[in-house]
Symmetry: C2
Subunit: 383 residues, 2 copies
């Protein structure tokens, strides 16, 4: 996809900006290198924080490798940002200097449409939410030079409008909070939307037992439900049970599928590889819903008859809004739910990406230790 990659060199640092250390893919196809980027200076509504950790998400790799086309370089990936507040704007009320905070997948939206007002900024109807990186300034809530693109969390600090800042509760180790704002909220938000906190015990299926799926198992279990893990591979049974699944279905085995047929109220499907959603409909009971979470782009062939004869639904869900992301952090803190993380330094990002894109490490999330990375003077940009 080299043709569709966009090279957008960084403008000179403006008076309303400051220079900061980051680790970037300088041009399409290149390896990671330390660079200087521009960040906005703190405006009235902004929060500046020292970056301490940034998680590495599989979608960082998709965007960094231009798998979807249109990626902008230099690219500083990272949408699982965690750190400590160092400065706040005059009108900021949400956090204060010294607080631990995080930023997930979005850093701006119109904040005026009904969807934003309802707390679902990820579905902003004013023109779509602005992503934490590989995106441009649009709504005027992000300071600095309007020409400077947005850079992600593989960097030493960031400045973000307080609306998109999440407070991180003391109950969560800071290095583990990042993936909760991505993998965690991606499962938490549909669980809440489809009634898992409404007080009734449900039977909940989780398809795909990776980084997303294991978080889903832990959260659905902590919400008091019977959780059934569903995988193409019988090898995942032990991992799924260890994370809290009571049931396990091998989706390629007819007998295993039949044993759970018609039993599930809700299925969260984390598969992003090519698949057919119709395959899982038989597991749903009357009124059951399957929620697609993985960006599998090919069309799925779906007969309408099972939908009609048992009032089943096929839906989709994308991460979650800021309020629910904070609720997810609180929930995870309260129930001791954290992702399984493996710490790396900035110089190991290329290696970590290789691990993620070639080896299927069960549910492991890689997290960059920013402070430690900055100590390695061979892998920070020259003055």
């Amino acid at each position: 996809m080299a043709d569709s990659a966009i090279q957008k060199d960084i403008p000179a640092c403006g008076d309303n900006e400051y220079k900061e250390v980051a680790w970037a893919i300088p041009k399409f196809g290149e390896k990671f290198a330390p660079i200087w980027i521009n960040r906005p200076k703190v405006g009235d509504m902004d929060v500046k924080f020292e970056m301490k950790y940034c998680g590495i998400c599989h979608s960082d790799c998709h965007l960094g490798l231009n798998h979807l086309g249109g990626s902008m370089y230099p690219m500083v990936p990272g949408h699982e940002l965690c750190g400590t507040v160092t400065e706040v704007g005059a009108k900021v009320t949400k956090v204060k200097v010294g607080d631990n905070v995080g930023v997930g997948c979005i850093i701006d939206s119109c904040l005026e449409c009904n969807t934003c007002k309802g707390g679902d900024e990820q579905y902003c109807e004013g023109g779509g939410s602005t992503h934490t990186y590989n995106s441009e300034k649009k709504y005027g809530h992000i300071g600095g030079n309007p020409e400077t693109q947005n850079f992600g969390g593989y960097s030493a600090s960031n400045v973000v409008h307080e609306h998109f800042i999440c407070k991180i509760p003391d109950s969560i180790p800071l290095e583990k909070a990042g993936p909760i704002m991505c993998a965690g909220i991606t499962l938490y938000d549909p669980l809440v939307h489809w009634g898992a906190l409404d007080g009734k015990k449900m039977n909940i299926g989780i398809v795909g037992i990776g980084g997303l799926g294991t978080m889903g198992i832990k959260m659905a279990k902590a919400m008091g439900h019977r959780v059934v893990a569903i995988s193409t591979s019988a090898n995942k049974a032990e991992l799924a049970k260890e994370k809290g699944a009571e049931g396990f279905v091998v989706s390629t085995d007819n007998a295993s599928m039949a044993a759970e047929a018609g039993k599930l109220d809700l299925i969260l499907n984390t598969i992003s590889a090519s698949h057919q959603v119709a395959h899982y409909l038989s597991l749903l009971n009357v009124n059951g819903t399957i929620v697609q979470l993985g960006l599998a782009p090919e069309p799925h062939a779906v007969s309408q008859l099972p939908l009609i004869f048992q009032r089943k639904s096929i839906a989709g869900s994308l991460i979650g809004g800021i309020k629910n992301t904070e609720a997810c952090l609180e929930f995870c803190g309260k129930h001791g739910i954290t992702p399984d993380v493996h710490m790396v330094e900035a110089k190991e990002i290329d290696w970590a990406w290789d691990q993620i894109t070639t080896i299927n490490k069960d549910g492991i999330r890689y997290v960059i230790d920013i402070k430690k990375s900055l100590e390695n003077k061979d892998f920070v940009p020259k003055e």
Copy 2:
């Protein structure tokens, strides 16, 4: 589909049965003829009613012509039964002799599963609901000879367990009540299930402006919503507006589709001809749901991306339960909503079926006047 048709001759009338006049397709491929059938005598929980009217539904034609395979002959179609109670069993409390009553698409279900107990007998999890005709006795709530198949409403009387009897309010002319228990409830139930009575004004699309669609327009309008009619044909605009639609979309016209893009909270899709549901997803707003009501058997190609990026849902719905059918009758009575009917006699059934299957009469429902049909001694069975 002659090969798959089942000839199941009627057993001799048992001591627990009585003989009754009916109009049947005696064998696959034959025209309607008057015949004698057996009905169960009244048991403790049963209600016997004199048939006064029976509506003709398009699905009568599909089953009568064996379009889906497996149809049983002789077949007495009809699932829009209306009449007056003439006898009740010792334990019946729901109705009394002289009451106007009706029966819709189902006459039995397990009555024990959670779905039945929740009032959704049409989705019975105990083994599926028993249809008013072209079905066999299964759960023991239907009397008479267990070998005698169930016959529909093209007949002079019927005996049905009180649970499946609907009271018909005085506010509805009896000859117009039948289609409400089929076309009406098919639209009313999903409107209620997806929140149209929850007090918030919605934008509701109705796809297909025929017998189902016009009832949907009238009911959604009476519930206080903005209704948008959606049709492949611009010719339906006037009819749709006359029935209460404020908006009209020609689904084959890109500009017309674009003008309503992202505006609808709920779409009820009545199309049973071959189509692709994905075509209508662009009309839904964030969190919007399209509900499939028409039995289009071919698979639909659905990309998951619009579902994920705007939390849209594709669902289905099948008629409605008994409690909601009664609520639908009350609602229609209160708001003066009735189908547009054309009365026929039994000897005209073949002609009416031709009209239904060959000419697209906008929203007209044909109804058999049973009393008048019985007066025609040339078209009742010989003693």
